[in-house]
């Protein structure tokens, strides 16, 4: 089984075999992260540029650690304002970086399609670390990895995603990946945050969060962006917490052993109550931990080395 993708742009294009290979590869890397000397020479001599146009702590750090543990040379660029302020285009910024011969560019950008844009214009591999409201494939894959670790399978599971589905790249990437793996995906959120046509992408839409939770194997809460309140989308965070926040009572509607997940950063008391965020069913920090293994797998697979060489 070989990996035929040069870029990781989104989970939309992945087959069941692709995703299984990524998760299995991540599994084999997981052990490295528990060693005393957490470094292997796999990507020695490779240069990876983390090109972040949006603020990010968790994803950028996770990629950087993954790169360093594989012995790649990691360079971080926070381009959030510099190039835009100087009037440079995204293509020019990327071409300038490419002129220095990186092997992989990891990009985070506020515009949907930014990763596709780079991939169609550059020769090196591009990994999408989040583009607008489009995709965040590494997040979804680490979510699947975490679910599989606990449930030993993905097929046949019911996963409920709650929150701002319309503006969430995490929701889209999870929806594509989970349905490809044979899981049932339910989405719930305020009416203003359910995008039209989402059911055609394989999601079952619920207007009441309680109905969406009933019998779920996994509950995935999305971060609510605080600036959305009062701007037509949301009357108040208080109201949001009441109707779409996860607390112990609502969680009781799901399976007893349902996992509670959150991509972070959490707004405690808004989309998730602390009693649940810190409760026995939460796997939120495991998600973060697994993120490193999954990103190591992605970096390794796009670098074109055969899996047998691990």
């Amino acid at each position: 089984m070989t990996f035929r993708h040069k870029h990781i742009l989104g989970t939309r294009r992945f087959s069941e075999q692709d995703i299984t290979l990524i998760l299995d590869t991540a599994e084999s890397f997981k052990e490295i992260n528990a060693r005393e000397i957490k470094k292997v020479p796999t990507l020695r001599g490779k240069t990876v540029v983390n090109l972040f146009f949006e603020a990010s702590t968790r994803t950028r750090t996770s990629f950087e650690i993954a790169e360093k543990r594989l012995s790649a040379d990691a360079v971080n660029i926070s381009a959030s304002s510099s190039s835009v302020v100087k009037g440079e285009t995204l293509e020019d910024t990327a071409k300038n970086i490419e002129a220095m011969h990186p092997d992989i560019i990891v990009i985070r950008h506020a515009a949907s399609g930014a990763a596709d844009y780079l991939a169609s214009r550059l020769n090196c591999s591009v990994i999408n670390a989040g583009d607008g409201a489009h995709e965040h494939p590494s997040q979804a894959l680490l979510d699947l990895f975490t679910i599989r670790q606990h449930k030993k399978r993905l097929k046949g599971l019911t996963v409920t995603i709650v929150g701002d589905i319309a503006h969430s790249r995490v929701a889209r990437s999870n929806l594509f990946a989970l349905t490809t793996m044979g899981a049932q995906v339910r989405v719930a959120g305020p009416g203003t945050m359910i995008p039209p046509g989402i059911e055609k992408l394989g999601a079952e839409v619920f207007t009441r969060m309680e109905d969406a939770l009933r019998g779920a194997d996994v509950v995935m809460m999305l971060r609510i962006q605080l600036e959305r309140q009062g701007r037509h989308l949301l009357p108040s965070l208080r109201e949001y917490a009441r109707f779409h926040g996860l607390n112990r009572e609502k969680l009781a509607l799901a399976q007893k052993d349902a996992l509670v997940m959150h991509p972070g950063p959490m707004n405690r008391g808004v989309e998730i109550a602390s009693e649940v965020a810190d409760g026995p069913q939460n796997v939120i920090l495991e998600q973060v931990e697994n993120g490193v293994s999954v990103r190591m797998a992605l970096l390794y697979l796009v670098s074109g080395l055969a899996p047998e060489n691990t």
Binding site: L90, A133, P195
Partner: protein, 434 residues
């Protein structure tokens, strides 16, 4: 100076003529249309196997002159028009400065007289600076040459202001053109709202943004009795609103662009900025409704919304890309696809590109009757060509139709009897003025 166009298939939608005839042109005017006209002492244009029709009229172009000459000028825009078979265009006022004063109108007219090779009719702004706040001096502008008024690209959001504009302009007998999109409902969207936008994570523009704006402006036409022409309709709902408005006798006309009746929102996939338009490309249901609207006469006019942009303005992230495409050099062929699909007859198609636009803005042209100015297009209906944007006469190359194989090649375009374009690419007479 005499010219005879021999043996062509003369299609004149006004009288419904479609037969093999000759046309005699004397001093820029059609003097006779008959079979076997003598050609002694005349320049002879052999149109055997070709369609000879009234010169096409595009009532919606952006020539970017003055102000954005790096995208297009009146010189290059009119050459693109001539190459596409057009003999007259109406150019929108969103130039820099905006065409909201007589000085700008005069500039456009003078520039067209000096550098243009087809007739150029300026459209003035409804409000100063297109800001939607105060009316322009529409009286002076219309007597000075503006054939219509529009805040194109922007809807006049203030309903009372639009009402007053219609009441004010009515005695001058020129229509207001409306870019009907309620921007409070488009809300930062960059493509049609729906499944594809959700899939791509792009913010959508719902159909209601257009329908609601069309409805308001149609009702204002009913209230004031002034003529409203709705630009580039794109939705099923707009077709239905206009159909019932016309049935009720409200003085409205409307247009559709070739791209809106040809492409769906699927063209955006891959974040293709060449498919980014305002209004956005819609769904196949909308396209079917547009076809029916063209067929039953609800949609009067086919106009291009020729919107040249520099490559750099499209080679960016999708949400930053400018709206619009160039259309003058592909419009005829894309419209002929509707003839091939039997949605329109050839005569209907040509009518919507000549006679009907002339009527909508009360312009001369659109007919081949004796005594009319000899504005004529001669084209090969069957000949195929591949769209190569690098060969456009327009200064800009922004089109989603690059590489498409289309039928219908313009052989010659005449304005007032003078050849302004011929199939070999000669536009020699352009610089002499029309």
């Amino acid at each position: 100076m005499k010219t005879v166009i021999k043996n062509g298939r003369v299609v004149d939608p006004g009288p419904g003529r479609d037969e093999s005839l000759d046309i005699l042109i004397e001093d820029g005017v059609i003097s006779r249309v008959a079979s076997s006209l003598p050609d002694a002492g005349a320049e002879v244009i052999d149109a055997r196997g070709m369609v000879v029709a009234p010169g096409l009229i595009d009532i919606h172009v952006h020539f970017r002159d003055p102000g954005q000459e790096y995208k297009e000028t009146i010189a290059t825009g009119t050459r693109a028009a001539a190459a596409g078979g057009f003999t007259a265009v109406a150019c929108m006022p969103n130039t820099a400065p905006v065409n909201d004063t007589l000085a700008v109108t005069e500039y456009i007219k003078n520039r067209a007289a000096a550098d243009g090779c087809v007739r150029v009719y300026p459209v003035g702004a409804i409000t100063k600076g297109l800001k939607g706040e105060t009316l322009t001096e529409m009286g002076e502008l219309s007597t000075g040459g503006c054939v219509a008024f529009s805040d194109d690209g922007k809807w006049v959001a203030d309903g009372d202001l639009m009402r007053r504009a219609l009441e004010y302009v009515r005695p001058f007998g020129v229509p207001l053109l409306t870019h009907a999109e309620d921007t409070s409902l488009t809300a930062g969207g960059v493509m049609n709202e729906g499944f594809v936008a959700t899939d791509l994570g792009l913010r959508g523009i719902p159909w209601v943004a257009e329908n609601a704006a069309v409805y308001r402006d149609v009702m204002l036409a009913a209230l004031t009795g002034a003529r409203v022409h709705v630009c580039h309709i794109s939705t099923l709902g707009s077709v239905e609103i206009l159909r019932s408005a016309k049935k009720a006798g409200i003085p409205v006309t409307c247009e559709v662009t070739p791209h809106h009746f040809t492409l769906t929102e699927e063209a955006v996939r891959g974040y293709n900025t060449q498919a980014k338009m305002s209004p956005p490309l819609r769904t196949s249901e909308d396209i079917e409704a547009l076809h029916r609207g063209l067929q039953d006469g609800t949609i009067d006019v086919i106009a291009t919304d020729h919107a040249p942009h520099h490559g750099d303005e499209k080679n960016v992230e999708f949400n930053l890309a400018h709206n619009g495409i160039v259309g003058l050099e592909t419009a005829l062929s894309l419209t002929l696809r509707l003839v091939e699909k039997k949605i329109l007859t050839l005569s209907q198609a040509l009518s919507k590109m000549s006679l009907e636009p002339a009527r909508a803005l009360s312009l001369p042209g659109g007919e081949l009757r004796e005594g009319a100015p000899a504005d004529i297009v001669i084209f090969d209906l069957e000949r195929k060509w591949i769209v190569d944007p690098r060969r456009f006469h327009s200064k800009s190359r922004n089109t989603p139709f690059g590489g498409w194989e289309l039928k219908g090649v313009v052989h010659r375009t005449l304005v007032a009897g003078k050849t302004v374009f011929s199939g070999s690419g000669a536009t020699a007479s352009c610089s002499e003025g029309k």
